[in-house]
């Protein structure tokens, strides 16, 4: 295999984030059992799990490549692509469903032109459907850039997304 053996605390690329990842791997004694913990750590450090990163982890934990890929794609929490600048996480739990999360979904999708599970082409907004964020008392709920917003209605939801869009326009890249 044309891949370098993992060297401790230094990645050939000089990317320091690998030092952090190595620390997480060492904490678990490089055990294959810790694969999910290490994937969590890697996603926390790198934002998402791209193929090269998964190969690095597979080598570090001495696991077959397909095993690592299989685990990473089994769990919804792990992302293989980066999220947009803003994230709109809509709760699709039962309470939110009963209280009209469907209408929010429809309106936001229509506004953004992409479906939940996708990111707008300008990489500004990712629409993410969550199983249940556990704030059922406030249904329908969405988590907008990590802030829980309860008792949301479709128009407010679109308004929030609009604010993100305006802000992007103000600061040209």
């Amino acid at each position: 295999m044309p891949l370098p053996e993992k060297k401790s605390a230094a990645h050939p690329s000089g990317d320091n984030r690998f030092k952090l990842l190595d620390r997480a791997i060492t904490k678990h004694q490089s055990s294959g059992y810790a694969l999910i913990e290490v994937l969590h750590a890697a996603q926390g450090i790198f934002g998402y799990l791209e193929t090269d990163l998964l190969i690095y982890i597979a080598h570090a934990l001495r696991l077959p490549l397909s095993r690592v890929y299989g685990v990473a794609t089994f769990y919804h929490f792990f992302r293989m692509k980066p999220n947009g600048k803003h994230t709109f996480v809509l709760c699709t739990g039962t309470a939110c469903y009963v209280k009209g999360a469907g209408a929010i979904q429809e309106k936001v999708e229509k506004h953004c032109g992409v479906k939940f599970g996708e990111t707008t082409p300008d990489k500004n907004v990712s629409l993410i459907a969550a199983r249940c964020v556990g704030s059922c008392g406030l249904a329908p709920v969405a988590v907008l850039d990590n802030a829980v917003v309860g008792k949301l209605n479709p128009d407010d939801a679109v308004q929030r997304v609009r604010q993100w869009e305006e802000k992007t326009e103000e600061v040209p890249a």
């Binding site: 055990s31 294959g32 059992y33 810790a34 694969l35 999910i36 913990e37 994937l39 969590h40 095993r67 299989g70 685990v71 089994f74 769990y75 919804h76 929490f77 792990f78 699709t92 739990g93 039962t94 309470a95 939110c96 469903y97 009963v98 209280k99 969550a130 199983r131 249940c132 964020v133 556990g134 704030s135 059922c136 008392g137 406030l138 249904a139 709920v141 802030a147 829980v148 917003v149 309860g150």
Partner: protein, 544 residues
Amino acid sequence: MTLEDLNEVAEKELARQQALKNRVLYCSAAGCVSCGSEATRDAFKASLKEKGLEKEIEVIGSGCMGLCGEGPLVKIASDDTLYQNVDEDAAQKIVRQHLLDGKKVENNALDPANPFFSSQLKIVLENFGRINAERIEEYIAVDGYEALAKALTEMKPDEVIDEIRKSGLRGRGGAGYPTGLKWGIVRKAASDQKYVICNADEGDPGAFMDRSVLEGDPHRILEGMAIAAYAVGANQGYIYIRAEYPLAIERLRLAIKQAERLGLLGNRIFESQFNFRIDLRIGAGAFVCGEETALIRSIEGRRGSPKPRPPYPSEKGLFGAPTLLNNVETYANVAPIINRGSAWFAAIGTPKSTGTKVFALAGKIKNTGLIEVPMGIPLRTVIFDIGGGTPEGTEFKAAQTGGPSGGCIPNDHLDLPVDYESLATVGSIMGSGGMIVMDSESKMVDVAKYFMEFCADESCGKCVPCRVGTKHIYLLLDKISKGNATADDVALLEELCEMVKDTSLCGLGQSAPNPVLSTLRFFRHEYEELLKPVETYIPSDVHE
């Protein structure tokens, strides 16, 4: 740490609290935090500082206080007044009127005689609104870790198991397997290495009991697990918790650190031979990992695909060793049973379903939130007295319990007592405690479709009936809801539901058809109204 040390911590903490003039407990559970309870806290602190009372009256975060729909909630410790919708203005008002002048702020105060409070009975949630979840001293001050001390210093493992068995406690994760029996099996399994796992992978959409317990009283779980580990002979525990619960994860991490610091986790706990450690394992978004064999695989770093049982985890579980797996609420009941005795616990509820059950009330209901009721309480009391019924202008249609594995219970069955067996007679299950109320606006075919979409999406894909069957059940429901189906399709739907139930590998698949079967049972007319006739041969004389 010895028993004397423990008492000393408790006394010191109680003395500290005595010295205070009052305590303001704001709800620091995720629901209230997202309504702005942290701003409320800051307003209290600022206002108290302004009056020079910041040393005499402390403002602390506590566990979920129930009425999540009316947050932020705040409790005043001296007279147990509970306030709702406490925004920053209300906070200042409470400081001025209540804390300084001793007059309740009527606009925000909740009436303690309200059936929302009076019909409940709190064991699991008893410390909510009483203690600061982030300080182990406060937990110890309300007799925390005393049950563990008692078990380790006064009881043999078999006596602990016997006590749990006599209490009649059954698994609160949904299936209701007798807890004492399960512990006994793991105890008997011959092995040098055993594990104890807490299933905190609360995946039912519409359920947040476990999250609230972990956020509001994390030490209760650690203590319950330690007692269980002592009883079955384990020295390592894992809490498998959803990544979606960052606050609960944070609180647990803190609680474990505090318990280790005081020697309540670690080696030779209470100077016994018992060693026990707990580690967290963070789930990664897979409902199926609530199934015990899948959960174990996930802790082992694998895809969460269930394995056929037998062998059961109690014989061959985590890393092949005998493993005890219980749910959060089950562990939360352990310490009170050891402290107060099995007879006390067994007297609550019904003979076959003892104790209390925590429910998360949500959906089309006035009082949404977290409640705890004695087993056997009529469903009607839960929904109409505690929950306050459906909002004005709508009519109650069904209560959904058990999440995607449960069923919809119609009006006619509302006098049913809430216990494991009764809920099963109407095709639902106790489940982990989600209770979603639906009103006349909810279309039951769509409700069934919603759950089936969930199950199909959460199927691990290992066994054929669940992987493909749930997809086809969903497609049939979709066809029905769009008015394209015939009576033949409904017959096929029923046959497929029975088949998936009968043949799936694990509980997820076996129970996935329940929402369909229960809505077919009680709301069949809603299906039939959507059907169209089968096109067939028409003789030409009829044609013309």
